[in-house]
Every structure is written in C-alpha cells, then in structure tokens.
Symmetry: C2
Subunit: 391 residues, 2 copies
C-alpha cells in the first residue's frame, strides 16, 4: 500500500445555507483545490446521507463532478449515516493506496434546512432499525437519553458534566469562523439560574436542549494524494496514517453492555495500530459529540482515559484548549455543527488545520498527531482516522 497524504482542505460555514446541495459540496471543493495548488483530480467521492430523502436528489456525485467541471473522471456517493464523511475519506484512502488513483477529492455535503425540527428527528431516525426501534418511538435523542441515564448511574456522570462539555465546545466554536453556533454559554445560564429550565429545556431526559448538536447545512472537502503529488504541493505535509472502522449491533438494545461503544473502541484501535501510535501520542482529537455524553464516552473508548473516568478528566480541564488532550477545538458537532454527510470531513479539516499550525486562536500547541471518530447510527458503524504531521 502506498502512503496517502492530505494536500488540500476546504469548508463552508456550518450554518443555514441557501445554495443547492451540489453547490454546498462544490464550494469547499474549490477551496481545497486552491489550497492544494489545483492538482489534477483522478476521482471524486461525495459523502451525503439525506440527498434522496430530504433534497429530492439522488446520484449527487454525478451532479457535483459536473458542477466542478471535473468530468470525465469517475464519481460516487458514499453513505454511512452520520459517519458518511469519514467513510468517504477511507474510500479515497484506498483509491490512492491501491495505486488506482494518484489524487482523489472527497467532498461532503448536507442540506437539512428543508426539514423542520420534527422532520429532522424523523429523517435521522431512518438510520435506526425500522422494525425494532423507530416504530416503537425510538429516535436518536431518546437513545442518547437512555444511554446517558445508564452512564450516570454506572459512572457518576452528572448533568453538570454534560453542561461542561457544551460550555467548552461553545467556547471553542467562538474561535472558529466556520462554526454554526457563535453563542457563548455558561453553566449558570443553562443549569443553575432560575431561567435555566426555560433556556435549556429537557428534550430526552436527562438530556436538555444544550446537550444536542444543532441541525446544520454545510460542506467540507479534503484532497488526498500519493507521496509524489504531496511533495510537489507547497503545504505542510500531513499524512493520513491510519484508517479504522468497526460495526456493532444495529439495535442498541441488543448490546451486552449498552454503555460500551465497542465500535468506537475497535475503529480507534485499528486506526492507531495502522499509524503505529498509542492514545497518549495524540495531540488533538475531534470526537463525534452529537450529544454531550458522547464526547465523554468516546474519550474513554479511544483510550485517552479509563472507562468511566472521562468526566473526571473533563472536570480537570484536560480536554480543553491548553489541556493535556484538547478535544473538539473546532467546537465539535455541538458548537461547530453537524451537517450529517459533511461532518467527518469537517473533523478532518480541523485536524489538518491544527497539524499545519493554521488554527489561529484555537491552535493546539505542537500538534503533531490528530485523531477523529465519526459515529454512525447510535454507535453501530464508526470510522476513526489518524493524521500525522510529517515534515
């Protein structure tokens, strides 16, 4: 297998966008082309979850390849629920590693503004089991609520810990011009004040409004290339050093221990093994905090902290900017936003920006190795990526 490098990145603001979905994918692709010095692209992968359902557009890759005037190169859409973005990066990795392509573009996009909040929950629930989960009323927020309650009982996590994740990630998002939520929040405002129940109502007990990521539109892109191409690009050399993926039971209720996220554990272990690193080597991580509890649980499953102790490390400030292992300096899904099909590519965008030393006010010092986890379903299909600064 050949080594694979990230030679260009681009991103839209994660927010509410007016453009058609093909253009939401194309815009960051143009940024990434410019970033990489406009290399010849051999193949396009598009990541998207809801184009067919929400936007009435299937075969999105064929639209994007033409929008970018990249015809006649081949193009496909890769879908893996909320982990579509990282799955597409993994697929692009194979295309270059195999020698079939030298340079591959991976562009993700989601446009969810067509749906209102109720419909968004309905749309996202299409990734649960249609016969065993959703028809009984189970949605992603309700699964997350039950997961959180178990986690609280077992490990002593409290609502205050959850709020600390939200406050940290909103603060990080303030430093990220591409973030959806530019809204600083405090524990006082969302938990302790008399207005907290109004400001931050319960959605899926014990989870409240500010424990949930926003519903975002957005796009992001990375360009992957072999070493020969990467060395010609006058940008810091960042290698996609590890790709890992694991699945778990489709339904959460079938898991022996529902508080274990075995797919996160498996995917991260694979990616780190391929990259030849251990958790303590990681300088910066983007974890899939669609719900605040997930950042805590994933920080344990990837091996940064012992199982059940992630909230204690959070309390000690170890996951904040300037801490031992900053998590979600971009703001994470919580603050930066969650345009489903683009989310994993947005994570990669942040890690590459950090490893290049170009993250400005949110820069993690001496960032050399970055890790992402992108969480499909309720943890039933997880992709983890490891990036290394190499020059």
């Amino acid at each position: 297998m050949r080594n694979v490098y990230v030679v260009g990145v681009g991103i839209t603001s994660f927010s509410r966008l007016e453009f058609p979905i093909s253009e939401i994918a194309a815009y960051p692709a143009m940024m990434a082309l410019q970033d990489a010095g406009n290399p010849k692209i051999d193949h396009l992968y598009v990541s998207n979850m809801g184009g067919g359902r929400v936007n009435g557009q299937t075969a999105l890759a064929s639209a994007v390849v033409d929008t970018l005037s990249l015809t006649p190169i081949g193009a496909e859409t890769i879908e893996n629920g909320p982990a579509s973005g990282s799955s597409a990066i993994k697929t692009g990795f194979m295309a270059v590693a195999s020698g079939l392509c030298d340079t591959v573009m991976v562009a993700g996009a989601e446009r969810m503004r067509e749906v209102n909040n109720l419909e968004a929950t309905d749309f996202v629930a299409t990734l649960t089991h249609p016969l065993a989960e959703y028809i009984y009323g189970v949605t992603l927020p309700s699964l997350a609520g039950m997961f959180t309650r178990l986690y609280m009982e077992k490990y002593g996590v409290t609502s205050r810990h959850l709020a600390m994740v939200a406050v940290k990630n909103h603060a990080n998002a303030m430093l990220n011009p591409f973030a959806h939520l530019h809204q600083p929040i405090t524990i006082e405002g969302i938990l302790d004040s008399p207005e907290a129940l109004t400001n931050n109502p319960i959605v899926a007990d014990p989870l409240r409004f500010f424990d949930m990521c926003p519903v975002s539109d957005g796009g992001a892109c990375v360009i992957l290339a072999c070493e020969e191409v990467a060395r010609k690009v006058k940008r810091p050399l960042v290698r996609l050093a590890g790709v890992g993926q694991a699945t778990d039971t489709h339904c959460v209720h079938e898991r022996e221990n529902p508080t274990d996220l075995l797919a996160v554990r498996g995917a991260a272990a694979q990616a780190m093994k391929m990259a030849g690193i251990k958790p303590s080597d990681v300088s910066v991580a983007e974890l899939h905090d669609a719900f605040t509890i997930l950042e805590i649980a994933e920080s344990e499953e990837v091996g940064f902290f012992k199982k059940g102790e992630g909230h204690l490390a959070l309390e000690r400030g170890e996951t904040a900017l300037g801490g031992k292992i900053p998590i979600n300096p971009s703001g994470g899904l919580k603050g930066k936003g969650h345009p489903v099909g683009a989310t994993g590519i947005g994570q990669a965008h942040e890690i590459v920006t950090q490893l290049r030393g170009e993250a400005k006010k949110r820069q993690v010092k001496n960032a050399k190795i970055g890790l992402t986890t992108n969480f499909g379903g309720f943890g039933n299909n997880v992709v983890s990526l490891v990036f290394k600064r190499e020059d």
Copy 2:
C-alpha cells in the same frame, strides 16, 4: 495492485419481493457465502439508490452487516444512481487491490414495490438535474424518447429494431429462473398486429411500453478476494480484470452530440485497457438496456460495432444467444429486471455464471471474457467491468 477474483455470487429473483430491504440484500449474500465456501469477510459494501427515499431507511450497510452477523467488520453504502452496483464492485476491487482487505462482500438491493408507477418515475427522476431538467418535466423515459428519435433520424434505427431488442431479451429471460419477466413476446404481438397499440402503447414517443424495463425489487451479491483466498475456493477462477468509469455532463442537453454516450465509451475503454483486451476479445456482455435503444447504442460505444451500425448487427442476429457477441443472455434489464441498486451486481452475477459455464440453457459457448456496462443517470456516470476466466 493485487489481482482480484470473484469467489462467490448470489442473486434473488428480480420480481416483487415481500422482504425488508436489508433482507433483500442479505439473502443473496448468504447464497454467495455458500457459493464461496464461507470465507472470512473483511468488509461489506452495499449498493442501493433509494433506501432513504423509498423505504425510509438510511445507513443500510449498518443494517445489512448486522443482519448477516458480520459485525464488527466495516460497511458502507455506495450510491451512483442506477450504476450503484458496479460502483460498489469497483470500490470492493480497490479494497482488495490495495491490500487493506483480503475478502470483500458487495451486496446490492432495491425495493421499489412501495412506489406505484408514477412515483417510480418521480423517484428515478431524482437523479436528473433538479433545476435544469426535472422541473421542466424531463424524466428518464422522456430523455430516452428524445434520444431514440435522434438516433432514428441519424442512423436509420426503426421501431422494428427496438422491438427486436425486446423480443430477444424476453426470450433470453425465459431461460433465466431469476428473471422478472417470464413472458415471451413477438414482433407480431407488440408491433404488427391490430392489437399492438393496445398491447404496447406509446409511453414516450417513439418508445412504447415494451421498450421499457420493468420496475423490480431484487438483490445480488458478489464476493471479491485476493489470489491466495481465491485459489483455496474450489470454484472456477474468474478474475475481475478491468474496472473503468467515466462521467459526462449532468444534463443531456449540454452534450455536443446527444447521441454519443461518451461515458460508456470512456468507461469501457478504460476497463478493457486495464484487462489488456480489445472489444473483439469479449465472449459475452451485459449492457444496461433500461430502454431498448440503450442496448443498441452501448453495443456501439463499447466497440463491438461501428457507431450507427449496432441495429444492423442486431438484425443479423449477432447479439443473440449463439451469435457473434451475445448481449444480455440474462434477459438484461428489459427481461431480467432492474432493481436499481442491485442491477450492476446482477450483471456481474450473470457474467461470472457464464464464465464458469454454469448458465445452463442460456450458456454462451466457450465464454472466457465478459464485459458489463452499468449506466448511471442518462449516461452521466458509467461503470464498466471486465471479467476473465483464468483456469
């Protein structure tokens, strides 16, 4: 790059199926596992176009991997409109060729029975340009109708030639137990008799009812493996020797010459170049005859006949079973059916069955090399595969 072999195949009947879509994918996967002697699978690719829109199920790969008890291996859905199946095979090829996986399962499924005929047209039209085509009433049948009219004027193709494709492919489908349409038809019945206009009404002039493929449910699966695994499987050795893909303008009206299918030409040329063959080396082909005209046009674009002369070769019987280059011995999309996301894998199933010499009454004699074209959009994203018998 490592060589890649097909070690197992499976297929459902293409028809109207009662099962959930995850089971439509899983059933042929079980057949393929049995066919291959139950090898250890390293990764699953699922091909599907309409799960999110038609069946309310996204993240289908996560459902199928669990249905098959293949967790914790990774799984993704690959979508490229009606060419999703071949795109997924091409992706599986890369996974094995790169060395990332030794054995990969590629399972496709579509369940269209939820939609009636009008909705089916609406669903399929989601792959056209949403701002420049569909809102003006352009659907796939209407594009095919206009394409056919141009082809008739330019090359002398007649309604009789179109009917000959339908008659041939319905006859082939009679020999295929998995085919959707087991209905022999004659030129007399669909064109010449007084009842022809009733039996075979005009749908998109000059195309009639029997120029269109049926709307099918169905699934198909191939298992791909490296040489070491393939040599252990006690089945005839069939190599996936060439993969090609090309895109064209998203909209048909932007093409310099709308009767040229440049993406078919490009994809087939690439696949044959990789396989080291020329068109005259091909023993058997499965071409994407969603409309009868497409079989004629594609038979020219892949290089079997000169441009504008495919209908003459058809007249001479060269594309029939027993002819110089039998096309669509399975019955093609026209007779066998077109469960969109599974169609390309169904084509591969037929070619592998032919190269193994196991096609029984529809067996092409001495079949050593087979080619497929899988046509996305209206020819805007085409994948072509070449298979070789190697023992």
